[in-house]
């Protein structure tokens, strides 16, 4: 059995808990602390609303309820897909978001896939390129591509691409591009910084796999480099790559916000930026919750997918009975290592796990 029910439920429960807590935090931040946004807005004499009207609005929006019932109200609203109303336009937040979501989804998917292709290509070239000879510098240069890519300000990259491809070469029309044409530059803008952590994790895991004992043994069996890459290295190196996929979601959101602003693409990112400018907290709250939901779901999927690919996670749990909880952390752990790696931190969880097992045997003391 690849996934046991207990593990599944546990991970699901964790995901729901994280979501709930994130919602709570966002609610506190965006709804409670700002206080009575309504009064501030509608009491403005310029609007010419009578005090009865204001009272009506307040009743309708539940602004006078205690903070806890407002929280419950908001929570049930979110659970039923009712995200409240935009402070600025009065339109339902759900409608606004539903209208903007498809365009952002297209951008995110195309950006992500491009980043993936870029990352795999660079990583393989950087680890399997010529180590010696006249083209050795190519390999070294590719090695430093991730640190270059991650240092690029996304907004600047977008502007640069517009300058080069639209104004200099005229490849992409600025005035009235077709839908596919309009997608090219934003996709690149999202993909370049996104590819950096993926490339880096891949380079690193390929290098590690290359140095491992079983690769030497396979070479000693007479395997060629190509054979090794396809049969031995690829699958082992993909595991950490899988984890980083879940973690770059945050980067993807950041990329979308900035890219949509730069290119003036109507989407969640642009809406978010406008919401911040106009302090339209209900929209912001909805975006935060939806994005967090996306993050949690993707990482849950990666977590659940992990044992399917990594056989070690599969059977450890079933053999070491009663330790399910501990071992289910393993994939989370490697995920963390990957995040940390993307900013250059070596978490060394292997040591940590070893350390934790040794604390079991050693009640460390005063």
């Amino acid at each position: 059995m690849i996934l046991d029910t207990r593990y599944l439920l546990l991970r699901l429960g964790q995901a729901v808990l994280v979501l709930l807590l994130a919602f709570t935090a966002a609610f506190v931040l965006l709804s409670l602390i700002p206080g009575d946004g309504l009064t501030a807005r509608f009491a403005d004499p310029a609007l010419g609303l009578s005090s009865e009207q204001i009272t009506q609005i307040r009743e309708a929006t539940g602004a006078d309820e205690s903070w806890f019932s407002r929280y419950l109200l908001s929570l049930t609203g979110f659970l039923t897909g009712d995200f409240g109303y935009s402070v600025q336009t009065g339109a339902a937040v759900s409608t606004i978001i539903a209208a903007a979501l498809p365009s952002t989804a297209v951008l995110a998917v195309s950006g992500f896939l491009t980043a993936l292709v870029l990352a795999v290509a660079i990583a393989v070239a950087a680890t399997y390129g010529p180590a010696t000879g006249p083209f050795a510098w190519v390999r070294r240069a590719l090695d430093s591509v991730p640190s270059l890519f991650i240092s690029v300000p996304v907004f600047w990259l977008g502007i640069l691409l517009i300058q080069v491809f639209s104004f200099q070469f005229g490849f992409v029309s600025v005035v009235s591009p077709g839908p596919a044409e309009a997608l090219v530059l934003p996709t690149l803008t999202v993909a370049v910084p996104l590819s950096a952590p993926i490339t880096q994790v891949l380079i690193r895991s390929i290098t590690e796999v290359q140095a491992s004992g079983f690769v030497k043994v396979t070479t000693a069996k007479g395997a060629s480099e190509m054979w090794m890459l396809v049969h031995t290295v690829a699958r082992n190196a993909v595991l950490p790559g899988l984890t980083i996929i879940g973690l770059v979601f945050g980067e993807l959101v950041a990329g979308a916000v900035v890219t949509e602003t730069v290119f003036g693409r109507n989407g969640i990112g642009l809406i978010t930026a406008q919401a911040v400018t106009h302090r339209d907290n209900p929209i912001l709250l909805a975006v935060v919750v939806i994005a967090t939901f996306g993050y949690v779901i993707i990482n849950l999927a990666v977590d659940l997918l992990y044992p399917v690919i990594d056989v070690r996670l599969r059977t450890q749990r079933t053999t070491a009975s009663g330790k399910g909880l501990k071992n289910s952390d393993a994939s989370t752990r490697s995920a963390l290592t990957a995040t940390a790696a993307s900013v250059g931190v070596d978490l060394d969880w292997t040591d940590d796990t070893a350390a934790e097992t040794s604390t079991e045997t050693k009640a460390t003391n005063p």
Binding site: A220, K221, A223, N236
Partner: protein, 560 residues
Amino acid sequence: MTASPLLHIDGLTVDYARRGGSPAVRGLDLTVDSGAMTAVVGESGSGKSTTANAVIGLLPSSARITAGQIRLGDLDLTRMGPVGWRGVRGAQIGYVPQDPGSSLNPLQTTGKSVAEALRIHRRTNRAEARDRVIELLGRVGIDRPEKRADQFPHELSGGMRQRVLIAAAIALRPRLLIADEPTSALDVTVQKQVLDLLDELRAETGMGILFITHDLAVAGERADDVLVMQAGTVVESGEAGRIFSRPETEYTSRLLADAPALQTKARPSLPEAAAFPMRPFVSVDSLTQVFDRSGDQVIGVEDVSFTLDRGTTHGIVGESGSGKTTTGKALAGFLAPQSGRVRIGDFDAAEFGRSGRGVRGRARIREFRRTVQLVHQNPYSALDPKHSIRATLTEPLRNFGIGTRATRDSLVTETLERVALPAEFLDRRPAELSGGQLQRVAIARALIAEPELVVFDEAVSALDVTVQAQILTLLDRLQRELGLTYVFITHDLAVVRQIADTVSVMSRGRLVESGATEEVFAHPSTDVTRALLDAIPNPVAFSGHADPHPALALTAAAES
């Protein structure tokens, strides 16, 4: 057969690019005959693994063969191109690595790993490969090969994995098998099984084996020819029997003397210990701490009891997972056992593992820590890398309030002298010291608190044999000078035999046998002990007539 050896290495010199020092291997001559085993023995850094890597063409890219020839039959391996190598590796030369833990692709079933060579060299189709794999797995002594072929490496034990690796290496019936420390990571009983398997295979298939090891005893027991390497050069080579009975160089003699497995004489027992039939200094009474259990195997310890007199050494031996480390932790007061008592002098060690204590408890625990000190296995991790040796040694003095600010310095210097380290080491940091020196510092740190009992947890296992012998001699001397009591935890029976007066044998979390060392060794009463004893490599020279005296004469010289 002597006319054309299978493998012939002539004047092999391997250089590491820009290392600055001497070449990794210089002017090495070696032959391996079909059906024979040639062992290359040396300590770490002697160049033995470089030799093995050169033969299979897997030198790191920084290393180059600058002189010499390696011939496999008619093939000149030094002139082999990448494509040529692909034809030789696996098909003509098999390779068995050191660490079975990391040498199998974790995501591949063992069957696939074994079949890999067949598939790379396109010898068989899928179905035939499967049959051949099962045949091979059966050949190397794996039970239920059909089932094992579908299992993943992490589901197999270390010995089992090494068998799988051997099966993979012999899949194409190579003429030569390179075994690079194939048993170093294995328990001693498993080591014996693997070595037996290699013997059988070469008798059966007539392949030659180039055997790399740091263990002189293993080499002496199994090999036909032995080369002893030191710092990249061969110091001595010849027939195994001759090297063991009449070593020609001082280095080999010293290695022989230091190898604990070759010590035939146990140390003299301490007379005074027997003279006073007093209450035992240490008594462990049905100590139980079970972390987990699966079938017969207990993770932790269950119902362990033994006693130990003041001034004597008690050895605790067992394979990995036998519970010996848990016992050590309980003795040192780092563990509150689920039940049982651990009494050391007036202390009950069990009480210190528990939390919750007042000021008096703290004082008491401090007193206990002074009485019992623990020396860890790995000297590299046992010392704070940020602290100088002086700071490391001063810390217990400050914590225990020993001496005054003025006297502490001289106390530190004195203790360092005691472990035979010069005073200029005081201001160095751990990174600047070798493993043996670090272990001496760790011992000094334990001694400076003036303990009565010192628990050594595999304290010499991580060290080269010469260093190991020096430390053991040092410990012996310190015990006599300071009247210390030792508990010595190790997987190495030979070490125990050398240092311990009494011994406990542990297996699967239980104590299976206990008694005077010579008694237990001479008349083992359980299968576990017998298996452990059987597994100690027994070089040809010592099984027969040989004269052990030259070895013993040098023991004293080893401590320098």
